[in-house]
């Protein structure tokens, strides 16, 4: 059920079960309705009305945890009576006002950790360009030595929120490679923005079928880099676990290792790919965009505890990030951003390199200049179907064993509903659904059928 739906409509599911978008009682009904206008959001409500709906939903959910009971109640007394009855006990109007007026942040001085790569662009630039300050926050962005450290420091609460690889909050929430702690993703940092870089000596080996026995680096096990590289190799008939060697290597060491001939290539975040080219040690085989156009890469993550203890700070922080992401999405701002984030205090890389990544006019390492303005792009919406896809790949490569409740995990971690609210508050138009279908290397992914998708892969870890 969407946040903006009418909780007094007996025909709609209030709990988030049933179909993918939540507006239908079952997945089958959703599919039938998918092409009809019924699936459209309640878009014409005024802001006040919308908040009323949200609050009323929450109250109804609390009063009737069971949908069956709520439906029975509504059927017997009618929606109008129910509303009147509820208003007597719960001051809906006051609650609505309290909700609409977000209030001052509980905690103004926040620490946000980041890894110095261009994926962190919105998190970083929000500091020098004043996006945090505009929300009344004093945010210190802290450069962090690696993904495991950023995980530990966020769990330790040294950081209030952090830049994480998109699958990391899912892995932390599931307790993979860490204690299980509920983590959330209110916004995706960037989409696209990675590439497969190979050593110059492989410039004639452009067919992945010739890559048997090669050594590749990835930044972290629970990363889109890992899943995309494995996907790409597997689509070309190579088993990533047996035909090649995949190593977890911190990004800066990738370039040095490539120069030293320790690895043959890597799937890494930018600016690292471009840096290898800039230093003349590698060339860009393909952009990750060519594997899956619009794939998520890094995320903005916070623990659920932070959201409950400081909801206003969290909302302000999310607004700042969504705002910054919107600014970064515009091509005309990219040069300014490259200059803002290049100094030693932030990414600490040559401006030329960052500019090539962000503007999309870049040297490919083989003597050519290419242009692709969408090489890296920014879109904050945390599609829950992204999370479902990541879960299918975690399962595919044996990181998760046994059954997975894809939807439940996706919806707990990827806060699409909250982001919609924030986006709407800011005058943006959030998508109507939280699930979307997309295709990876020409293969369509239906988030409603993750198990079928998983079963369709020939190369996978036998479990």
């Amino acid at each position: 059920m969407s946040t903006f739906d009418d909780p007094f409509d007996a025909d709609r599911a209030l709990l988030r079960s049933g179909c993918a978008c939540g507006r239908h009682r079952s997945a089958a009904e959703h599919v039938r309705a998918a092409r009809t206008p019924r699936c459209e959001p309640v878009a014409d409500l005024s802001e006040q009305k919308r908040y009323e709906g949200i609050v009323a939903s929450a109250v109804m959910r609390a009063v009737f945890p069971q949908d069956v009971a709520r439906r029975a109640f509504l059927k017997s007394v009618g929606a109008a009576t129910a509303l009147a009855a509820l208003s007597q006990f719960v001051p809906l109007k006051t609650a609505t006002e309290a909700f609409a007026d977000a209030g001052p942040p509980e905690k103004k001085d926040l620490k946000v950790g980041f890894i110095p790569i261009t994926c962190a662009t919105p998190i970083i630039m929000a500091a020098p360009l004043g996006f945090y300050a505009r929300q009344g926050l004093d945010v210190e962005v802290v450069k962090t030595a690696g993904w495991a450290v950023i995980r530990d420091k966020t769990i330790n609460k040294e950081y209030d929120a952090a830049h994480m690889l998109a699958p990391m909050p899912i892995a932390i929430s599931l307790g993979l490679g860490a204690n299980a702690i509920p983590f959330t993703v209110p916004a995706i940092e960037n989409i696209n923005g990675q590439g497969i870089t190979l050593a110059i000596k492989h410039k004639d080996k452009r067919d992945p079928k010739d890559w048997k026995g090669m050594k590749f680096a990835i930044p972290f096990d629970y990363s889109m880099h890992n899943y995309l590289l494995r996907y790409y190799l597997a689509e070309h008939g190579l088993d990533p676990d047996t035909d090649v060697q995949l190593r977890s290597v911190p990004p800066p060491e990738m370039v040095a290792n490539l120069r030293a001939d320790n690895i043959d290539g890597f799937l890494a975040p930018d600016n690292i790919c471009q840096r290898a080219i800039y230093d003349g040690v590698g060339f860009l085989h393909i952009l990750s965009k060519e594997i899956w156009d619009g794939h998520p890469c890094c995320s903005f993550a916070a623990s659920r505890e932070f959201i409950t203890t400081a909801p206003n700070s969290f909302a302000a922080l999310t607004r700042a990030i969504v705002d910054a992401t919107g600014f970064a999405a515009k091509a005309e701002n990219r040069k300014q951003i490259a200059e803002a984030i290049a100094p030693a205090n932030y990414i600490n890389a040559p401006v030329t390199v960052l500019e090539q990544v962000l503007t999309g006019t870049y040297a490919d390492g083989l003597g050519g200049v290419k242009t692709d303005p969408k090489r890296v792009d920014f879109d904050p919406f945390p599609w829950q179907s992204f999370a479902v896809w990541m879960l299918t790949q975690m399962k595919r490569w044996g990181q998760i064993k046994g059954d997975v409740d894809y939807k439940a995990v996706a919806e707990q971690v990827y806060l699409a509903t909250d982001t919609k609210k924030v986006m709407a508050e800011m005058g943006l138009t959030p998508p109507t659904s939280s699930y979307k279908s997309f295709s990876v290397m020409g293969k369509t992914f239906d988030p409603a059928k993750p198990d079928d998708y998983l079963a369709s892969f020939k190369i996978r870890k036998s479990s």
Binding site: V142, N156, P251, P252, A256, Y278, T352, Q356, G368
Partner: protein
Amino acid sequence: MTLSLRLRAAIVSIALLAVFLGSWHLATRSSGTTAAMSPEYARLMGLTATQGKSAMPGPLDVGAKLWEHLKRPFYDNGPNDKGLGIQLAYSIGRVGLGYLIAVVVAIPLGFMIGMSPLFSRALDPFIQLLKPISPLAWMPLALYTIKDSSISAIFVIFICSVWPMLLNTAFGVAGVRKEWINVARTLEVGTIRRAFTVILPAAAPTILTGMRISIGIAWLVIVAAEMLVGGTGIGYFVWNEWNNLSITNVIIAILLIGLVGMLLDQVLARFTRMVTFPE
């Protein structure tokens, strides 16, 4: 005419340095071989690719960069970019604190072990087991249990510098000549007084040797620990510049780490000379 040994040694040192710098300079000269490329492409590439500049910096590059750092050692451009002086101060502060805690723990404990054969035997297996553990092996455990990265770094300094001090103190205390202790006994000196007036001065050179080894280890450890936890300190500086693939700055950091380590060692060496006595 014969020059003093000291002067001759200095001349040899300088000659060695000159040979080293000269060969370094020659080894890192531009290769000059570059592939032909369009100017538009060249504009997007680094000097290594366009001018065949060596990926390793030469001594002149390092010198110029070092001068830049020395000109403003205490600048502060926000949480992730501070001058080398500030970074070194953070590292020295951490080492000082961890080391001080180690002194407070190791010397009394070492005394106890040295004076009591029972404790000496009972604690020996633990000390032998804990002594050879690498600082970095402690780091994840510390981060996980202490849940604070700067305290973890200090803990790692402590845990690594405590053992040499402990063992040396115990060894020094146990090795005090029996005659002296017997004389003190004959004069009916109490245990506490005996410890302070007879054993401590006698064992002091050995204890200080342990402390000198420990400060060396502590300084070794801090760089690794800071590279791991990040934030501030010379180790973080190395990591940050490695991240930027700036070998020049990494070399400068190595130079400074060596210099500070040497100074710390010299301070303790001076203390050791002060307490040494002729027998």
